[in-house]
Every structure is written in C-alpha cells, then in structure tokens.
Symmetry: C2
Subunit: 310 residues, 2 copies
C-alpha cells in the first residue's frame, strides 16, 4: 500500500560525548523516509528554504525508495534548523537551539499524485498541521502520528483533537508521562487509548519499546549496542517509526501480529541510524542488510527454551 | 544438579507509593530460594536471631523445595532487619534503615550433607563471606554471585578477589556503572568479564536484563506489568536470580542457550514476586503456573515475523 509522510526536514548541529557534526541533514521526515524507503516506496510532503544545501538533496535522492515530488523549496524562506547535545548516557539530550524558519509558514501542499495515499505517517510537527494533512487524504486507511513534549505543553487541545482522528501513535516514555501523568508505560498506553488511538507504541530509547492495542501487549528490547556502536541517537525514534510503517505498508495489514513484527523491523532500522551521523547509517541499506541484522536481533532477543517458543 | 545458596534472611519494612507492610519476611536468600525451589530442591545456608518470627519459618517451610537444614537460629542474636521506601517510579528506592544483627557475627556453617553441592549462588552479602563460602564447597561446578553498591564502595578488594573466583555475576545496571564507570550495559559487562566471570548478567529492573558471555549477547524485556500488577519490587532481583539458577540446576547445563533460556525463567519468576509483598506471590507456585506465564511472556516478547523466528 502507498505510504506518505509529512514532517520536518532540517539542518542539524549535533554534539555527543564522543563526537559532533554541524550542518547535517536531519528532521523527522528525512529520518522516517530514509528508513521506510527500504521496505516500500515512501512519499514525502515537506518544505525547505533556499538555504537548503545541494548535498542534502543529493543525500535524499540517494534513497531510491523516496518519492520527492512533494518536497517544496521556497525562495526567500529559511530551512528549519535544530541543535542538540546528548548527555553522557546517550539517552537524554538538551536542545541547544531551534530556528523554525519555513515551519512558521503555511504547510506544504500535497501533490495530486499523492491524493490516493492509504498509509499515513504524521511525523513530529505541530498537531494542527498534522490534522490538516490527514484531512486532505480521503483514502487514508491507517494513520499514525508522532508528537513531542513541546506540543503537549503548548498545543494540547490540537493534540487531543488529533488523537481522536488517528489510528495509532508513537510516543516517547517521557512524553507519555507528560500526556497522561502515568509513569508505567502500559498504564500510560491504556490512558492514551481512551483518548482515541487503538494502537499505542511507547518508545523507551535504549530500553526498547512497548505496544498496546485492544488485542494485546507486546514488549521488545532495543537492538543490543555497546558503546562502540552508538554514534548519534538523533533520528532513531523517527527511523523506528519509518521501519514500523514501512513494514506495515509493505504488508498492507495491521493485525496485532503485523504490528508486533513491525516493532522489531523498526528496531532494526533504528539500529542503523544509531551507528552514524545523519542518514549515513541507512544509506545503501537493502532488505538483505535488514534481514541479516534481524536474524542477529532475533537470536539475541530469543525468550525462553528454544524448543518451546510459542 | 544440587543447588545451594547463602545470603540474608531478614525482617523487612517496605513502603511503596500504593501500600506498605511491616515485619515481613525478606532477605536475598529467602527470595532466591523461594523462586529457585519451584525448579529444583534448594539448600539454604543462613542465620537468624531468636527474634525471628515463627510465621516467617512457617512461610519458608511452605515451600516444599527449600531444604532448611542449613538455617541456623542463634540464641541471643538479632535477625537482620531492613527498611526501604520506593519512589514513585517503583524502580528506585531509598534504604530507611539497616540493622545488621547476626550478619556481623561469624557466617553460618555449611552442613555436612550440603558439602557435595555443585551449583552455587552467593546472594548479596559481604564479598568476604561469599569467598569463604565458595571455598568450603570443593565440588562446585558453576558459581554465580550477586553484590550491591555498598560492597563496591567499602569492600572493593574483597569483591575484586571474588570476581576472579566465580563463573558468573548478576548485578544491577547502577552497580555495574559504579564498578566499571561504563553506563552502557554491554560495555560494562565486557569490563566485568575482564575481571574474571565469564557470565555477566546486568539487571535493568522494569527494563529487562542483558546477558554477555564470550559466546554472545542476549537481551530480554521485563514481563509486561501495568500499575495494577506492581505491588512491591523488593526481592525481584533475587527472585530473578532464583529462577535463573533454579533452571540451570534443573538442566545441569550452562551453555549459552541454557543461560539465555534461564534469563527468561528468571524474569517469569520475578514477575510473581512483583505482584505481592514478601514471598506471597511465589507461594504455592508450580511449574504449571510458571509455564503458563512463560507462554504469555513469549507471546508478548516475540521478535519479528512469526514465520521467520530463527
């Protein structure tokens, strides 16, 4: 099924305890699409300014599965810029600066050729923009959104409205706590389900992720990564969502077992993002590369006796 | 194979955000043995004072798999007492008081009938006592120890000596950080392996556990538990170790696949401890009860496509 995403494309500065990079390609939409495009063709709807570097376009173009027909370059506008610094645990980060730029203008238009999109991902951006986007896609069959603490704090009404209109949400554990006042991820997920979405995924960074639906509960660890494998966590959540939604779109089905398998594919996709700055970890990645890492992940995350796996 | 454990038996006061209990049976040895005894007969070596309540003895006696021949009651001595308070996240706790009592005296003797023990668990107590215990068991074939931040801080030399004499260690993530200065659990585990033990298990509480050996790495999530299932985390780490070692002793084998399966059984055992104060969650538990919960755990923690589980 056709997969479409809207969200941010940014120019990032990132500092980690072991390295740093300036002026690199980032943004929720970029990481999502790069990860999803390994599984299925992925349509982008996003806007950048005329300061957007040519090598960032080349980087996105190097992913054959990304359809850039909905990427708008606006003359006189500035690309979204973000700077962040990771703390020593590599799980928490500080935002150093945010220049919204083109995100403060009207949202990008959806090309006519994208109107038939069925699987929709609303990557992190203002929930008002997310609501407008999904209303412009009358053929949508399965819509999932991401959000962040900023919108929970300053645009809660829009976010609550959005929750009533989507099928699923992907959210960090700290954001789920902020939204529901429940620290326990399973209890928080049930509280979010009561706000609308029937599929709730809570991401716990290095500790894995949790899925709660009316059909059941799933839990998975993160891909095992020692210090030498952790270069830059930026975009891991978006890449997780990209792998998740890319797999769902390629299956064309979102039964509980599909969602559970999609969580594992999302984890595997994110593990490639973790190992390099920007999209470099995902560049050139094929289904064979994903399957090879999935086999390692399954072997490491096997639960219980080999002969009694249910 | 025969399983033996030494450690503490205590009288605990516990406060959680949702309840409290005073004067209940606790201690590393009690929780370990109660969990392990579901899998195999478990020999206890421990000491209590003459203030030890009769109903605590009855509670331990209600576990048919626990061999109490090495439980010493000392006239004129006081039982170890511990009081703790859990913070709102149920993962962190403060120690309110510790009265060492009988733990400050000579360690309990190992009965002659226990001298042939092959599988040895050194539950949390002073590493000097742990070293003396394992040296008294010439037939030991697989020895695993637990420890805590206190001993890392005040008895590091004894602990480092112990690490050179054991096959495995079970340790919390915060303790692994304190011991190795590495936050990443895989990197910390490799640093601990260089200190001696070839089997390193790092417990992450509600986030599951990690196993590192020269043969490979395993990761598992905790058993999914919403707020209503979390009554008292006290003893969950000891019960995890009990399930782990009980399974290993019942198999009589500690290949990588055995250790990985044992991690899952430890997780299942700990999930019963979590749901009640003291040993009540484990009381009356049978292998059928464990297998039923294991099936639910495996279903929730399945990684990847159902048809491609490796």
């Amino acid at each position: 099924m056709s997969l479409i995403v809207t969200g941010t494309i940014g120019i990032d500065n990132v500092e980690t305890p072991t390295g740093s990079a300036e002026g690199i390609l980032g943004g929720s939409c970029a990481y999502f699409a790069a990860a999803a495009s390994c599984y299925t063709s992925t349509r982008i709807v996003a806007a950048v300014g005329d300061d957007w570097p040519a090598d960032h376009r080349s980087m996105l173009e190097s992913f054959p599965g990304i359809d850039l027909a909905g990427l708008e370059t606006r003359a006189g506008s500035k690309t979204f810029r973000w700077g962040g610094k990771y703390l020593e645990n590599m799980n928490d980060r500080e935002t150093l600066f945010t220049d919204l730029g083109v995100l403060e203008e009207a949202p990008p238009a959806i090309p006519d050729a994208f109107q038939d999109s069925e699987i929709v991902f609303l990557a992190n951006t203002h929930p008002g923009v997310q609501r407008g986007f999904l209303k412009s896609l009358p053929n949508r069959k399965f819509t999932v959104a991401d959000t962040m603490d900023l919108w929970i704090n300053i645009a809660r009404d829009d976010l609550v409205g959005l929750l009533g209109e989507i099928d699923g949400i992907v959210i960090n554990d700290s954001e789920a706590l902020l939204l529901t006042e429940h620290r326990n991820p399973f209890t928080a997920a049930k509280a979010i389900m009561e706000m609308g979405p029937k599929v709730v995924i809570i991401k716990k960074g290095e500790h894995g992720a949790v899925l709660v639906t009316p059909e059941g509960v799933a839990v998975i660890p993160a891909y095992p990564a020692d210090e030498t494998m952790v270069v830059d966590p930026t975009g891991c959540g978006d890449s997780f969502a990209g792998g998740f939604m890319g797999y769902i779109a390629s299956r064309g089905s979102w039964e509980f077992s599909d969602l559970q398998a999609a969580m594992a594919w999302g984890t595997v996709s994110a593990s490639f993002t973790l190992g390099a700055f920007a999209l470099e970890g995902l560049q050139g990645l094929t289904m064979e590369g994903l399957e090879e890492r999935m086999a390692k992940y399954q072997a490491a995350a096997r639960v219980g006796d080999v002969n009694s796996i249910v």
